[in-house]
Symmetry: D2
Subunit: 377 residues, 4 copies
């Protein structure tokens, strides 16, 4: 079950970092949608390591093959499937780790869970699995953009102690983010982040950070009561990304320090609205982060995610091996000092998958809803 997610827009990923390739099955994609294959390839490229000197030199083209569900430029409505071959499998890189539990990796936990494990890198735990997520997220993003004008934009909001405070002035689009080598649209912060990452790389160390997300043009009414609240589904999706350790919606942790009279978002009417069954509202503040009672309210969705520093570093570390011996894990191998820039398209993909599923679930039950609320979200 753990390889699948979503209820109507249902995504299943497959493959391993050191096997033949990575793929994805998408059940529940509407038929007749003109898929922009270049957009998918573009998003895969954004996810890819080795794009700048800041990231790991592992370099794979990540070209996808469509296995099913696509004909004449359009989705068939039956399940879409994509496959991306692995081309850079240096499993020898991993040989010396074969029986050692790398600290803060999944080596020990996989061994304890399955009582048996492969020495060849992370298997399903590898960040390479996120190729599949980016494909499914790009498909979802294209449909959401076309049908709702909805757009998810993520950026690197902090690296180590360098804060961009990006929510003060969120990026207008993904290009504004991509212009920065660290995917931070605040030029000053971007420059300092770049320097920090270079320094950390020289030190053979790694560094964490946070990612900010804004979703514009979300219509009110997405999400469900009780267990499948929109925030709950978003939190699960984001926390399933490797290295993600924290999630905030709207005011998040800082909002806990406010009083209700400060934190409540008063409703006002949107100007010049035509009479409609459901009034079109807005709030001058957005502490709710676009979600109230688990359901979108038409204001932008605001999320912030914490990513821990990568566990792979070029330093000796104390650890234990499978035989139950305390050993020293020697420094070595290639590594990515900061996953944040590459995590940006992965985060956008997970958010789009959740919103797509919520959109289709809402459409199943209230197909007329969008006509009743559609204004200018």
């Amino acid at each position: 079950m753990s390889s699948s997610t979503g209820t109507v827009y249902r995504v299943t990923t497959f493959g391993e970092s050191h096997g033949p390739g990575i793929g994805v099955v998408i059940d529940g994609c509407p038929a007749n949608f003109e898929l922009d294959l270049e957009n998918i390839q573009h998003e895969l490229k954004r996810r890819r390591p080795g794009q700048s000197k800041l990231t790991t030199p592992r370099n794979e083209p990540d070209e996808f093959e469509i296995l099913s569900g696509f004909y004449n430029g359009k989705t068939l409505g039956t399940s879409l499937a994509f496959f991306v071959r692995n081309t850079d499998m240096k499993s020898t890189d991993y040989d010396r780790w074969s029986d050692v539990y790398r600290p803060s990796h999944a080596d020990f936990t996989y061994h304890a869970k399955y009582t048996h494990r492969t020495p060849h890198g992370g298997g399903r735990a590898s960040v390479r699995e996120s190729i599949a997520r980016v494909i499914a997220g790009s498909v979802a993003g294209q449909i959401l953009k076309k049908e709702l004008n909805l757009e998810t934009i993520a950026w690197v909001d902090s690296v180590g102690n360098i804060d961009a405070d990006g929510f003060q002035e969120p990026p207008l689009d993904r290009n504004a983010v991509d212009e920065s080598p660290v995917r931070c649209h605040n030029p000053n912060a971007s420059r300092r982040m770049t320097e920090l990452i270079e320094q950390v790389k020289k030190d053979g160390d790694s560094v964490g950070g946070t990612i900010g997300v804004i979703v514009n043009h979300v219509p009110p009414g997405l999400g469900d009561p009780v267990f499948d609240k929109l925030e709950a589904d978003l939190a699960k999706a984001c926390l399933s990304i490797p290295a993600c350790k924290g999630f905030e919606s709207g005011s998040g942790f800082s909002g806990t320090r406010l009083r209700g009279s400060q934190h409540n978002d008063p409703f006002y009417l949107k100007p010049d609205q035509a009479k409609s069954p459901i009034p079109s509202v807005q709030t001058p503040t957005n502490f709710s982060g676009g979600i109230q009672g688990g359901i979108s309210n038409g204001m932008p969705i605001l999320l912030r995610l914490a990513f821990k520093p990568t566990a792979t570093i070029r330093k000796n570390q104390n650890t234990v091996n499978e035989k139950g011996e305390e050993v020293i894990l020697k420094a070595g191998g290639r590594h990515d000092p900061c996953v944040l820039p590459r995590a940006v398209p992965i985060v956008e993909s997970m958010v789009n998958m959740v919103l797509m599923d919520a959109y289709l679930r809402q459409r199943a039950l209230q197909p007329e809803w969008y006509k009743l609320i559609q204004k200018d979200y």
Copy 2:
């Protein structure tokens, strides 16, 4: 779908705050378990409002009736169901709100989603639905305690700006938490929180805060790769609690400021261990919060949750009504200035439900695993 959660330990809640009552169905509870009904009643009492002058005067006994799955003191293995009658339904309290969107409540979003809504309070969005969660969480907690010695303890870690820093010295058990009227085991912080909540109440206002969670004696191996990582399932469960806006696992947001060499948790052997197929390890630090690669590693699970200030306050507020008019919502009615103390048993329940499901899923696939790893977690 939104009323159900879990894969093997599958919980479905039903009922509304202003209907006849609230109930829960539990599919996937092992047979032959001697259920401690007093413990369930005790947990319901912990959740109940009106226990002290700090909370809302709404006072309902919350006595449950067992509808199915229980015979002769033991679970039957078929679905358990419980029902708690509502006895204090003053729907007149809500009449004057009937067509007004209370700011930061679910009124507008429910209207936009369903294009129609009840004026009688929150329906399924009401915190009263959490009665069902507490019952299902208590059942799960009892089984986890007996079979794994696992115990989930939550506490109020901050209210407004008053921080207890409870992770420095986490509570040893729930009694240590319950001795405080605000459920904070740090006596100094508890006293100051109490004063703050009383002040906020006098002001007709509300205040938010955070909840800390420690889960002791978690065996390694719970949780799944990819989408159903233990942190992901925990995040979804916690974010589905009304008013929860943030989630951290282990070092969370503060860990993003560290370097990998500081943040990695080195492995050491547990002392005096017998030879076993899977070594028994520990880490002097626990930045991972007991979870690595989405799977428990045998160290305590550490979580921190953000709860926004309650939306119900006794102050006039600007808002909009269903007719599309801007109106002022007049202050009035009873309210709960701080939900944090009552949220403690709800949080414990959600965490226990997730861990129970993960435990049963693991047992399905690797029934021998617990013998191979069982030591002294």
Copy 3:
């Protein structure tokens, strides 16, 4: 999981025959639907035993209480829940069976599965659980009737060796069925079935039979490829009814004796059709039973179900008890010599639940579809 069914129209039943009552939770019911409560009560009455001398004298009014999801005559869109109290719990009837495995009942299998069981009747295995199914099926049926003009009609097609051959001339509506005390619209067969059931009752025995189903006005396009074919979902739903042991779609078993050239249903155009993106077709034969490739084709859906003779009889039977002793189960107690007439509304309910789920799933993905195909199905 076993108490829930459906993906978007998601039904969860709860309660036991010898507990306080039976209930149902319906997630995924569209909002704003004017529910006909009398229709629900009427269907419950159709399911109820004790309506004629042909059935068991157990007589309960089966009045339902709405727990949630309903306001001002309309569905709220949030989960609907209903509860029906048990009022006729003579558990003493069952005492003498307490440790005996009644042949062809669920006593032994429940004991083997759960290693522990209640002596009080069937618990969740009782046909009384079907109250919940009939409520959920009636809600689905009302919506399908209003939105698609779709109607599911079941009838008793055979009892023992008496065949009504009802597919030759299917009933026009449920009234035509209900006019017969055995729910068979063929008057001659109805009379002979009645006589047979009375004889069987006198003999203290029971008898099986088959149920025919026709669903009229099914639009083409319901159902999914691969694992969730419409026939597959219908088969699961029907086989989950107690005592059901067989399922046929369209030509079923008798179709296996034909050649493809006889069995294929040639397509013709419906007369006088306007130009539309999808042609409107019909087939002079309907061996496919309205489903091709797992998806409805616009012709009536035709199903036939087998129900074994009730296991409860008034005759001595050889069996074994929990202590592992061979014993004789003495004749006695009330019993229903033929469940077929009562099964009719249960079958209709299960079929409607499946079609409702398929309809909502289809609407989620292709909301415009119904406009493109809508003609005169």
Copy 4:
């Protein structure tokens, strides 16, 4: 959702008949199992067309590639994935059908559902998708055989009007079935079936039939109450196989003609049993087909399935095309006059997948159960 099935043993298939290949993802396969890859290849070969002059000449080697979850001869516990390349894609064969609805195929229903379709054969509706099912079923079958000694054996029980009456003396193993070119262990029936199929082939026609299934050594306790009864899950799995139109469990339709006193299966003790918490029982008759109350009772499971004659024939047929014109579909192309022999391994695979899932679900909840009941089933 329609590409996935199962709860704990969760199978997702992907790919199309005219794309690059067919694959399968298996989530929930226990770790450390020594997979017999030759057995998988053997089962694929059994499914493959072109093995004798009785079937279609389409001949593909169907060699699989393992994409994930396998290391050093053993399952890793993480998701298994397999891929089989298509090598014989003559899409030109299909060109002349491009806009014609082949009678009793999925052409029209796919068009009506998705409002758009591929002209290249059946896509996901193709029987080639069953490659994925056979792989997942072979993996399940190997584990069930090793852990429970359970074995599923299917055979062709009738072709057209030729009946083998195979339940009188079911085959002892799969070899007994495979010795016959039509997979029928009754030599006389096998010979006559072969002749019939050859004649039908000469006629350019097709013929249907039935498949019998016996599952030996099923422990009591598999399956769940209410909606996930073992028969219900088996029925869904079997009806999801292309061309399957009917399902019987135990006495099925013929049992409806019996009285309860004839049909009930009396319990007796198994001889020479040791004292155990759950008695070990048997029944001299097996009208229940090994399942009572939706749960296995330790007797062999008996199923019978109906397969309609293949829709592809070499005869002219009246039909309609996408433009809404009545046309004649000209005879031509290769075809398989009788799918029954090839359906045998597909049926076995679906049954094994269902039983594997039921076994893992049971183990999750009652891990000790197998020790309490294990005797000599």
